[in-house]
Subunit: 347 residues, 2 copies
């Protein structure tokens, strides 16, 4: 069987209607609401074909049709017309970013809030990976004998810190020395370079301070590997409870228990394959049984061309893809700009 223009029209009408109403769509409804110029009987025939092709399915014999995941996929790839955001929405977004921006974490939070507010679905935003960006400043502070705090500032504006154990004899002066060497040698380098090529150089430089050499090595190997420190912003979860597909407490429960596993959420968001642009994952494409009735729309945001993290929207498979994709695109642009501003200064 071949997909022709009229089948596309019917599929488009059906999905559009289902997204709007959440009710199975019958042939009569399509004939009445969408002017295809044919009778319900004809549409019934087309629908039977579409069902055979796997694009739509029937919850039960005497109900209308509902899009399948394959149907949504076809819709997103070929049929969907992105409509531009309304004046009002554009306004809301740029207004949100007008606010005085304090730091990266703040911007992330802001973005998540806006995203869920505008789309009425749940928003997920992953904060920058520490390895992204380059090192701006390292400072070590002796908290009390045997314990020091390492503070690392990245050029992205992200600040990471960690408490480490040091030998009892180490003084703040020793730590200052190390900090200075680190700053001199490592400033402006990105994390990969730091780990791979510069260990030797520092080793040499610090050899005159034999007593603190071990500490320095320890620092490089342990403290600066700040991996697994991504944080996540999750907001607007109550939004998706407004969706009729979540009027069942059990479904809400499985979804919520999944959303509380931050690391899992991170890995989901990082599956956006396209470097530029928006990725849409529909239903079982997420490869998680608990989310087979959900879809995720993600995009990654950049800083100086390096992908820092991702933003995403999570909703039911019956999500308004056209709108959400537009919003995510727009938000990514705004976020990139905001980060740019944050790093370069305003005027």
């Amino acid at each position: 069987m071949k997909m022709d223009a009229r089948k596309q029209q019917v599929l488009l009408a059906l999905i559009t209607d289902f997204i709007a109403t959440a009710e199975p769509v019958g042939s009569r409804t399509i004939a009445r609401k969408y002017t295809l110029g044919v009778s319900p009987a004809t549409i019934r025939n087309e629908m039977a074909d579409l069902e055979e092709m796997g694009f739509i399915e029937q919850p039960h014999t005497s109900a209308g049709r509902v899009p399948s995941h394959k149907g949504y996929r076809y819709y997103v790839d070929f049929l969907m017309k992105k409509h531009d955001l309304s004046r009002q929405e554009e306004e809301l977004i740029s207004q949100g970013y007008k606010e005085k921006v304090r730091d990266v974490g703040h911007v992330i939070h802001l973005t998540g809030g806006l995203l869920s507010q505008i789309t009425s679905y749940a928003a997920v935003v992953v904060t920058p990976k520490p390895i992204a960006g380059s090192l701006k400043h390292v400072q070590m502070i002796l908290m009390n004998p045997g314990r020091a705090m390492v503070v690392v500032v990245m050029n992205t504006g992200a600040v990471h810190h960690r408490i480490i154990e040091v030998a009892e004899g180490i003084t703040q002066t020793d730590l200052d020395t190390i900090s200075q060497v680190f700053n001199a040698k490592l400033q402006g380098q990105n994390m990969d370079t730091i780990k791979l090529t510069l260990i030797k150089e520092i080793y040499f430089e610090l050899s005159k301070h034999r007593n603190i050499l071990d500490l320095a090595m320890f620092l490089i190997n342990d403290s600066l590997t700040l991996e697994g420190e991504e944080k996540i912003y999750l907001g607007g979860v109550f939004n998706i409870l407004n969706q009729p597909e979540f009027n069942n407490v059990d479904k809400v429960k499985t979804l919520l228990s999944l959303l509380e596993q931050e690391d899992l959420l991170c890995s989901l968001l990082e599956r956006n394959t396209e470097p530029e642009g928006v990725t849409v994952l529909i239903g079982d494409e997420i490869k998680r049984d608990e989310m087979k009735e959900c879809s995720i729309v993600t995009a990654s945001y950049n800083f100086n061309g390096i992908p820092l993290g991702s933003i995403g929207v999570l909703g039911p498979t019956r999500m308004d893809y056209a709108r959400v994709v537009s919003v995510v695109e727009c938000m990514t642009r705004n976020l990139n700009e905001a980060l740019e501003k944050l790093s370069r200064g305003w005027k």
Copy 2:
């Protein structure tokens, strides 16, 4: 009408049973399951009295009785027997804190996770207020012309940072000078003292650097007032969806939308009046209509005797108060110890 010993027995039995089963409790049930030595008819009479006194109520004529908020309050204040935690639970908690502790934020996260896991309700933990504790180190880093990052490290191990705008002409050397003065003058002071008494001193000290004086003043007034920066850990929300009182999606929705308002949650947790020990807020005592079917058990944790923040458990009014109070007490103790360790070093 006067509360006598037998009325107390009946009330205790009724509340115990209701907490366990979530079903209205009838006179027959109490007579059968709890050996009070009297017949159902007598219990019926006592129950009629208790209802008149406002401790219990009837959902409808032909149902058993259910505790009122007043009843729970009486239970918590006078009847409840705290049972010690089981060997297994104690184990679980201390095991959780065995893990290598990285920083304050990490401990907070850990605590929240354990709390929700053990109680099977939702856990809320407020991170330390920046004003608590004393200043350990200030560092200013020029990010690019006109923008600097201020990093403040507290003796509690908390690290706060913020980006500020500075005059274009300011160099890193200028910032180092300011940082040095700040550190010399402010180290070991708490935030209140800093704000109130030391401005003058620094003003004097820096007067030789006229050009950066304005910046210094700005910093003190703006950047160091890190208020409103409390973060919150919220976990185990899906737990309370297991409670039968939340099998209605509407209730879940109102609760969730409330829980997403972090500032509101903070203010709820900070209502724990008793400086030492556990505070229980029952139903409408929370003074929030959306939470009139919830209770909150909170306690505040300390560092060197200063209250830093609060931990809390949120569940339905039909919560197992005895158990939760014990757990919160135990967790507070453990958290205090962990913070102590974090600040003093292990051995």
